[in-house]
């Protein structure tokens, strides 16, 4: 039985290094902790019913690309880059018509890694967008509003909503590694 781990940078980096050597127990413990962290990370940035899918996609990507983690570097920035990449994939996927209330995740807990998380957070990524782009991406791609609803709520024409979503996603994909 693996002892419970804390999700701090040093512990996860150590587990990841062990995982790269083939240590299955360390790897399982790491993935458990990463899954929990990802749920917090994606909170309010993806429709609640899609969080599990997205977290599982990131875990599979982490597994497939685990050799790309450089043991000399920090773990969270690497994980966040992969998480952002997969998150954008999900944003691009068309799930218009879904209407979901974004929930307040009660499982979210503040940890000692708040500074790191803030630096790699999805909010920081959204701040790079023009307000009009961020607004319609949130409405259509995250909350699941239709183009018409987003148009009505923002005052943008329907074609402008589409253009802003397209341009916003394109810009986000170029900023995946951006920290500030």
């Amino acid at each position: 039985m693996v002892a419970p781990v804390t999700g701090d940078e040093a512990t996860l980096a150590r587990l990841m290094r062990a995982a790269q050597t083939g240590d299955k127990r360390a790897y399982a413990a790491l993935l458990e902790e990463v899954a929990r962290w990802l749920r917090r990370y994606f909170r309010r940035r993806i429709a609640p019913e899609r969080i599990d899918d997205l977290v599982q996609d990131v875990l599979v990507s982490l597994h497939t690309k685990r050799a790309t983690y450089d043991p000399a570097r920090a773990f969270f920035p690497w994980l966040a880059a992969i998480a952002r990449y997969r998150w954008l994939d999900h944003l691009r996927a068309d799930y218009r018509g879904r209407t979901s209330e974004l929930h307040e995740d009660s499982a979210a807990e503040e940890s000692d890694e708040d500074v790191v998380i803030a630096r790699v957070s999805l909010d920081r990524l959204f701040e790079q967008l023009a307000p009009a782009q961020a607004e319609v991406i949130e409405l259509v791609r995250i909350e699941g509003c239709s183009i018409a609803e987003a148009s009505e709520r923002t005052g943008q024409s329907q074609s402008l909503v589409k253009v802003n979503i397209h341009r916003g996603l394109k810009k986000l994909s170029a900023l995946v590694e951006k920290a500030n």
């Binding site: 995982a19 790269q20 050597t21 083939g22 299955k24 127990r25 790897y27 399982a28 993935l31 458990e32 899954a35 929990r36 599990d52 977290v55 599982q56 875990l59 599979v60 990507s61 597994h63 497939t64 690309k65 685990r66 050799a67 790309t68 983690y69 450089d70 043991p71 000399a72 570097r73 920090a74 920035p77 690497w78 966040a80 880059a81 992969i82 952002r84 990449y85 499982a107 630096r119 790699v120 994909s173 170029a174 995946v176 590694e177 951006k178 920290a179």
Partner: protein
């Protein structure tokens, strides 16, 4: 709290985990350097060195062109190797400045053509520099392409652009050791073209293979 589905996936992934060799930056750079050395060797063995290369008989613009292209190739190679291991906070601005500096080469070429009195000198085999430069770029860039394919570039279009530009620059530098021409017009046009073509191929063709 992780769901049963999540736990099941985690168990499967953990069971499937085998040791992997981390993609360290140093190893990527060493492989890229080896590929460049091989490219230079292939050019010199198959096409031979330009006359006067060892004696220093070449124009100042030949030196400037190849140094700028070498700088561009190194900057792009560093970025490509780093992009395989993504991380939030990574900056890949080096190639941008190197591109701006290397833009001097075609600008000088075009300016020389525009300011040339009388017919612009042209030799039938000058366009071959583009072909040979691109072939050399394929050799120099093949290792970097494989590195990126194995890696996890999170900006595939940018990675493709860096790969193409860097490979084009290094390939042109390697081929330049064999090219007999010295003029600003020749170097500014026919040695800039392979870099531009390779950059476009990288951005619009190779980038598609960078997705994962």
């Amino acid at each position: 709290m992780n769901t049963p589905d999540m736990r099941s996936l985690i168990d499967e992934l953990a069971e499937d985990s085998a040791p992997v060799q981390p993609m360290r930056k140093g190893r990527g750079l060493a492989q890229a350097l080896a590929a460049f050395v091989v490219t230079v060797a292939v050019v010199l063995v198959l096409l031979g060195a330009r006359s006067g290369l060892m004696e220093g008989e070449f124009s100042a613009f030949f030196v400037v062109t190849n140094l700028l292209l070498l700088l561009l190739g190194i900057a792009c190679t560093l970025a490509v190797v780093a992009m395989a291991s993504p991380r939030v906070g990574a900056e890949h601005d080096g190639p941008r400045w190197a591109m701006v500096m290397a833009a001097v080469i075609p600008v000088a070429g075009v300016a020389a053509v525009a300011g040339h009195a009388g017919p612009v000198p042209y030799h039938w085999d000058e366009p071959l520099c583009v072909l040979f430069g691109l072939i050399a770029a394929m050799i120099a860039g093949s290792v970097q392409f494989r590195w990126l394919k194995r890696g996890a570039p999170v900006s595939p279009e940018r990675a493709g652009l860096m790969l193409g530009t860097g490979a084009g620059a290094l390939g042109t530098v390697a081929y330049g050791l064999s090219c007999p021409f010295n003029s600003v017009i020749h170097l500014g046009l026919w040695h800039a073209a392979p870099v531009i073509v390779a950059a476009l191929v990288g951005r619009f063709v190779l980038a598609r293979y960078m997705r994962w």
